[in-house]
């Protein structure tokens, strides 16, 4: 019940927002097309995060290679 009340209240505030002003670029991109862009952003963040981890691992291996050389 709490869930529905809070969701309903949120819906009202969102509607009020939508009526009062033109949506910002952020809202447009997050809420547009049934909010599919939210999923796109989330997937992109995960790819970026795993990619960054790969870079850190790469650097670690490079440093070890340098230690091996002399």
């Amino acid at each position: 019940m709490k869930y529905f009340t809070s969701l309903a209240l949120l819906l009202f505030t969102l509607q009020a927002k939508a009526q009062n002003a033109a949506p910002s670029w952020l809202e447009e991109s997050l809420y547009g097309n049934g909010k599919i862009n939210t999923v796109v952003i989330v997937v992109a963040i995960i790819y970026l995060g795993i990619g960054l981890w790969m870079f850190s691992m790469d650097r670690k291996l490079s440093r070890m290679e340098k230690k091996l050389k002399p």
């Binding site: 809070s6 949120l10 963040i45």
Partner: protein, 334 residues
């Protein structure tokens, strides 16, 4: 086949990611205009999502306090309908449900004045004008969430992977305390480091999802703050390790701290957000239903569990890479 679990992980991630992105949402009514009605003749424009309305007209109704009035709905295009009917006086509830054929939009219309109830009319079984073929396997179409329900298969497995890795970390910590082995200590810190990567991803993806559904990147929600504090506890674990010079002393100290850290993780992520006294916006916490309420036919689960297992396997793989690299590095330094 030594690498079988790595192939399994890749396969599961491939399946879960494609299915999570390609499965259509079930048809639903998402918007009505106007959004309030008064007694008298009314024309309500109804917007559907993935509805694929067929040309012609079908049965539409208003439902207030369990009583129905019927009207006719004329299809404009695949997602637009025009519902024409006579709104009766004396509706009992403020919120009226709009129904088209088998689809319902609960609480779509608002009425100001209240009465003692309306007379119910029976709506005949109208000609089925909603084409539900070709959408055999669908995700629930929930207002506010809509397409973002797919994030369930990306955001949530981050936390499963993080908790699994922290579990590996604490197991190696306990073994460190028993064996005094620096090997176990190294495995413990490698697991915690990879776990923190997943923690960061979980926090950021959660913030984006929160912006799209709750309207803010961060709220003072017990689940959100608990997750953030858990991340900080494990950051402190790494800081603590950095501050002790002697390797054996560091291993013992970090091992003891890590056990406390895991206990706090369980408390902050599972116990505190579920206390009855606490309200939480986050699904599955503080008197708030989880997605299992939406998932009556297990369609989300069929994708979600493979996704969780896939991300856990990827996390374990990352942990073994990190651990092997650290081991080589230690040997080079010697």
């Amino acid at each position: 086949m030594k690498y079988w679990w790595k192939f399994l992980g890749i396969g599961l991630l491939l399946f879960a990611s494609i299915a999570a992105l390609r499965t259509p949402l079930s048809p639903a009514l998402v918007h009505v205009s106007p959004d309030r009605v008064a007694p008298g003749p009314a024309v309500v424009e109804v917007l559907g999502y993935n509805t694929n309305f067929q040309k012609g007209s079908t049965v539409g109704y208003l439902e207030n306090a369990g009583q129905r009035v019927c009207g006719s709905a004329e299809v404009i295009d695949a997602t637009h309908l025009r519902l024409t009917l006579e709104v009766p006086a004396g509706m009992k509830d403020h919120l009226t449900t709009v129904g088209i054929d088998q689809l319902r939009y609960d609480g779509a219309l608002f009425t100001e004045g209240l009465g003692s109830g309306i007379e119910s009319g029976a709506c005949g079984p109208g000609v089925n004008k909603i084409d539900l073929s070709g959408v055999a396997f669908t995700f629930p179409n929930r207002s506010i969430l809509y397409e973002s329900i797919r994030n369930l298969h990306f955001h949530v497995p981050m936390w499963f992977a993080m908790i699994f890795l922290m579990g590996i970390s604490v197991v190696y910590s306990i073994r460190t305390l028993g064996s005094n082995s620096l090997e176990h200590d190294r495995a413990s810190v490698s697991a915690a480091q990879v776990g923190l990567v997943f923690c960061a991803l979980g926090l950021i993806t959660g913030a984006v999802w929160a912006r799209a559904t709750w309207g803010a990147f961060w709220t003072n929600d017990v689940k959100l703050n608990g997750a953030a504090v858990t991340g900080l506890i494990y950051l402190a674990y790494l800081v603590l390790r950095g501050s002790v010079q002697d390797a054996h002393k560091r291993a013992r100290l970090a091992g003891i701290y890590n056990i406390f850290a895991f206990v706090l993780l369980v408390l902050f992520l599972f116990v505190v957000p579920r206390l009855n006294a606490i309200d939480s916006l986050h699904p599955g916490n503080g008197g708030n239903g989880g997605f299992s309420d939406l998932d009556l036919d297990n369609r989300l689960r069929a994708i979600f569990y493979p996704a969780v297992l896939g991300w856990i396997l990827l996390g374990v793989w990352m942990f073994t890479l990190k651990n092997r690299a650290s081991k080589l590095n230690d040997q080079l330094d010697r």
